[in-house]
């Protein structure tokens, strides 16, 4: 826990990274390699239109996430809303990859959501806002506000 009265600015900023690491249950050394800025690194582009017949059949299963137990609940959340996740653009830069289609792609096969903080954060925001009753357009607006328009 932070000593709120005496924390310096540098300590505060460091605590943001360290605290998130601790909350996610990921070893710090591993996290350091995967730490990314919350600001978009992707080439600017629009959110994709979700495919009408999209499903979650390719989202990794709990068994496939054995080494990534801290994101199993997140994958469960995305598995329940493929039609929403398929309408969101990932902001970490993976949207520039050849086989990328949407944030849903990040949670399928070799997608980066197992390890990428931005894919994970976007996914958690999408799941949470959908549960709160936000529309796809409202969720897109929130994602753009938080991660930039890239």
């Amino acid at each position: 826990m932070l000593d709120l009265a005496s924390t310096s600015r540098r300590g505060f900023v460091a605590s943001l990274a360290a605290g998130v690491t601790g909350m996610l249950g990921v070893p710090r050394s591993k996290m350091a390699m995967e730490w990314c800025s919350p600001v978009s690194r992707a080439t600017p582009g629009p959110h994709p239109d979700p495919r009408p017949d999209v499903d979650a059949s390719n989202v990794l299963t709990t068994e496939q996430l054995e080494r990534y137990s801290h994101v199993i609940d997140l994958y469960d959340g995305i598995r329940a809303i493929p039609h929403i996740a398929d309408g969101i653009r990932c902001k970490c830069g993976c949207a520039d990859l050849p086989d990328y289609r949407s944030l849903l792609t990040c949670f399928e096969g070799g997608g980066m959501a197992r390890t990428c903080q931005i894919c994970q954060t976007e996914g958690r925001v999408v799941v949470r806002l959908h549960k709160a009753g936000r529309t796809l357009d409202q969720i897109r607006a929130a994602i753009d506000a938080r991660f930039g328009n890239g």
Binding site: M1, L16, G19, L24, S37, A142
Partner: protein
């Protein structure tokens, strides 16, 4: 025949390998150098050759005759490259790459930014409407042996670019375009201003503190009792989008950093806010405020 061709190729390759490569390493009187600075997404890069005074006592009015157009560097002209429009000493300079020239005199000098970046120093550009030209006042300065461009001062909204050589220096005030609108209208602010009780959680702690939002000088200003960083005692809330704000840290009342790792997310989505969440990377909830 094939064997003969192979031997010929081997002999040729050996000859090429033995020829010294003179263009890759060369001692120059004025070695090339460079410096760049990014401010709020605008990058300003200076590339130049660096002459040395080497005991020449009369640089201005001597080596560099008054009235002559001179690139403040050597060999190929000094260039400035900017990735977004800026103003320099109040004059608009559009995104692009320019060669930089000075016309020195006994009083004020003239700065010239020419849209053709590739010019040799002996071939100063003729006057053209596409150039940006303005007067600058050289200052007496401690002797600078090697011609040096530097970003002497960096502010959230701009920088001071400085060229120094010998006994003189010239400074340029550069202003960049802000990437975000830092103002919050009174109408928008009215949805959020008021007093909240902030319940902390996670690494921020587990206590309750008071949190107040006021609208001052077109800014939404947060006052955080016992903040996690001293500079968050009073800070600006920077609008990111509908109901979402980042913390803008202040130094002497001036914004110096936008902390994108801490997001204030107000609810309900529309209308007067009654609560907010404090979220960090991973969408982790580190605090929840309820309007008092």
């Amino acid at each position: 025949m094939t064997r003969r061709l192979a031997l010929t190729l081997v002999a040729f390759a050996g000859t090429v390998a033995l020829v010294p490569c003179s263009t890759h390493a060369q001692i120059r009187a004025s070695e090339r150098g460079g410096v760049s600075q990014t401010i709020d997404g605008t990058t300003i890069a200076i590339d130049y050759a660096r002459p040395q005074a080497r005991g020449r006592s009369e640089l201005y009015g001597g080596e560099i005759p008054y009235g002559k157009i001179w690139t403040p560097g050597a060999n190929w002209a000094t260039t400035i490259e900017i990735n977004k429009d800026i103003t320099i000493n109040g004059h608009a300079l559009p995104e692009g790459k320019y060669s930089v020239w000075l016309q020195v005199g006994e009083g004020d000098w003239t700065a010239i930014f020419d849209p053709e970046p590739r010019r040799f120093h002996l071939m100063g550009p003729p006057p053209s409407d596409e150039q940006v030209r303005f007067a600058v006042s050289p200052q007496a300065a401690p002797h600078t042996e090697i011609l040096t461009w530097s970003f002497h001062e960096v502010r959230p909204t701009g920088t001071t670019l400085r060229m120094a050589w010998g006994p003189r220096a010239v400074t340029f005030d550069i202003r960049v375009q802000p990437s975000r609108d830092l103002t919050v209208s009174a109408d928008l602010a009215s949805r959020y201003v008021g007093s909240y009780t902030l319940q902390l959680m996670g690494p921020f702690g587990d206590g309750q503190v008071s949190f107040d939002l006021v609208h001052e000088n077109d800014r939404l200003v947060g006052h955080w009792e016992n903040p996690p960083s001293p500079r968050l005692g009073e800070f600006w809330l920077i609008s990111l989008g509908e109901g979402m704000f980042a913390a803008g840290e202040l130094d002497d009342g001036e914004l110096f950093d936008i902390v994108m790792d801490v997001i204030f997310e107000f609810s309900p989505y529309e209308g007067r806010a009654t609560a907010f969440d404090l979220r960090v990377l991973g969408d982790a909830l580190w605090g929840h405020g309820e309007r008092r």
